[in-house]
Symmetry: C2
Subunit: 171 residues, 2 copies
Amino acid sequence: MRRTRLTDAECPISRCLDVLGDWWSLLILRDALDGATRFDQFERNLGIAPNMLIRRLHGLVADGLLQRRQYQQRPPRHEYLLTERGRDVQPVIIALGEWGDRHRGREQRSLQLVDRETGAVVDPVLVDRGTGRRFDEIDVGYVAGPAASDALKARFAELAAGPEEAAARRG
Amino acid sequence: MRRTRLTDAECPISRCLDVLGDWWSLLILRDALDGATRFDQFERNLGIAPNMLIRRLHGLVADGLLQRRQYQQRPPRHEYLLTERGRDVQPVIIALGEWGDRHRGREQRSLQLVDRETGAVVDPVLVDRGTGRRFDEIDVGYVAGPAASDALKARFAELAAGPEEAAARRG
């Protein structure tokens, strides 16, 4: 079921893709963030086959993104609630949604992101927590961090040097 | 090759997942954002089979996320450059990376997000563009927007009402 890790386990993006597993899992989390908790709510909204859905739900429980809770005894019925780790996926969902809707005016949008308390429409943008500078106004990118392996450091050094130099260095 | 749309075309998240296609495409875009442009750079870093890679690259060109440009005449060689639409995927990559690294201290990180001009480490957080309020301090969520279909409006009304009421309403 679970595919092998796609790339280096050092990359937090790969790690994350490995855990989220596939688009179905992400769409289940999207529905959970919208307030869905029960099997039939996920099933109707996603149009997913029941056996596929149950497998994904169990996978998300095993990975600690959802927790399964019995809400009725006879007959036994369970609901699926987001864990803190599951709720932490919200920025990913929002970033995906923003990209999907980027070139639509507000009037053309089927979904709208709001402050649930006030109902005010919010417009998400990534900023630096410390300085408040907007990422669409500065040039941000990844570099090798303190725990990077030599291979990862070499990769970023090569990318920084540009393709010609890298090819020359490899001979 | 391309799977059918997973769910309602109204959802910007589904639309986005449909275009990004699969994890490989997202990892190619991650590498492109890191500065990779050439076939062998993607191939070595991803450890992907050449025929798989070429298919994904062509898909990303067809979807307008990469553009293919000849950089050498004899023998003909091409590179793949991010379009503006491709660069717009960066917040998704950053959100995925943050989720993957959320519980690691800075010293444990293999990758570090920096302001490329100053080298300063930046710490991404989503805020509302208008008010600057941090999304981790307010309760944000999706509601039906101005262009929502009746079906989508009904779905959100049902989720807002809670599962018991919804089941009762359906009989």
